[in-house]
Symmetry: D2
Subunit: 165 residues, 4 copies
């Protein structure tokens, strides 16, 4: 029995930031998801779509509506969303309020994939695994753990996601 | 609710191979698991033990008995085992024949973690996620997928794990 | 005959920038020079000193006076200075105006050493080689080339150093 | 004044070894020199030729004759040769016995470029610098140092090149 197809929706975030060597600034160019999927020798059936390439601090209500809409109309019932960590909880809760019957897993990275010390590949591996095994609902997968959208917060001091009581 | 503690048993495999710059050979020194767990900013409760550091082609029946024994007597009911890919299926089946009531996930890498293009971090992320969510049984987590020990083989031509009918 | 001791003066620059995973900003912590020297298996006699850790756009006249002073009073006659590329030419010319009889080579990087795609290690290798072989004078070593302080500029469009007529 | 064109002759060696993920063996595919030159943002005029891709322990007298011949007939008077470290001294001495009036610099790496901890980029940077600045003769550039072909040996215990009295 082969696994169901999973949709990956790319929204940007630290995951995909690059270093501009002329300005010394971080910026977005293309997503690194295809490269990361290849590096992981990932053999899942995937449908990868880039919705936007933004820092999640700059994500608008309209952006979130687009994400919700794309999840609703996706033919797949299992979805992974790459997202900046700063407002990942906000987007997860917007999805949880609106979408039922699908397993949606948001993930991201604390350090850009292209930099030596990124957690991105680890998080992507865990997010794809959680998307295959968790029952319908909206989740955040970070730090090796998963959290329900309704009960999670990012600890700004440590950068670690934790259960919100 | 915080997740249960997971035991990680290290047995060596490509995961942990290093390059000896004097001889030009690959060899084992210390495990890179602690470094990989730190890189993944993994916040799970983990108990990490090194059982052996061997190429899985050189793993003996006695080695496999030790692995089975360690899984049986572990207080944790969720276990991840890092293992060479060549005989990962053999060890998984030995575990499946002997152990019940625990979720055991074997994983490994096609390229050593210390080399630039390793799939190790991706696989570790997925294995830890599968260990938290799959029901009791013995599984292999490779290429983003999971397989029951009873129905998996490594395709020697492609290096990809696939369902054995 | 073993080579003369070379002094390395660290002033910061892109070379040594790191990514702060909590703020998403680049910042300075410790210099990576010792790690780079080890990676290069460098067997030269070196005396490494950190003078400052600054972005070269923020380097003041007082900072430049300190650098000149440190080069003048150094017992070594061969010196390598790591420096941000934006004002590297300014510092090189300040040194050329004031110091005679020593071979001083400034180098830097377009991308931080800790990021995957840095030119830092290549530049450090070439700077240490130029410092051993060029006659007294002040030079910039970038892009595999060397330039006299009096006749070099950084092309802001391309990020490449080139001869100024 | 722009620098003279430098010829780079590729012969293989640890520099260019890769990891075969199906067999677990090291092997040669394409040279990484072009990628390394790009990473170093090298702006020198270079003419890069692959002569062979061999482990230097397997280099034959005929291979060495070819290298000598290629250096003799090259239009450039400055040449860098990438070479395995085990017999680098032998090839350097064969060149020194036969070629006059050119600056030839042999370099290599203790760890393959594609592995995380390679000294290759550092050595390439220094070799290209030495090739521009040293007077005619045959040299080995390793560990940040240069050695005349006539007075160098590789210390097998430490992997470090050193002056032979």
């Amino acid at each position: 029995m082969s696994p169901e197809r999973i949709r990956i929706l790319i929204t940007g975030g630290t995951f995909d930031k690059e270093y501009d060597e002329l300005t010394g600034q971080l910026y977005f160019k293309d997503s690194h998801l295809p490269e990361m999927i290849a590096l992981g020798r990932c053999n899942l059936k995937l449908e990868v779509r880039t919705l936007m390439m933004v820092d999640s601090l700059e994500m608008t209500d309209a952006d979130r509506k687009l994400i919700v809409e794309q999840c609703r109309k996706a033919p797949e019932s299992r979805i992974v969303i790459t997202h900046g960590t700063d407002t990942m909880v906000t987007t997860a809760q917007a999805l949880a309020a609106d979408i039922g019957g699908k397993t949606i897993v948001l993930t991201g990275a604390m350090v850009p994939y292209k930099f030596g010390s990124s957690d991105g590949l680890f998080n992507l591996g865990s997010a794809l695994a959680f998307a295959q095994t968790l029952s319908p609902g909206v989740y955040i997968a970070m730090n090796g753990c998963y959290f329900r959208a309704e009960r999670v917060r990012k600890n700004r001091q440590t950068g670690i996601f934790e259960t919100a009581e």
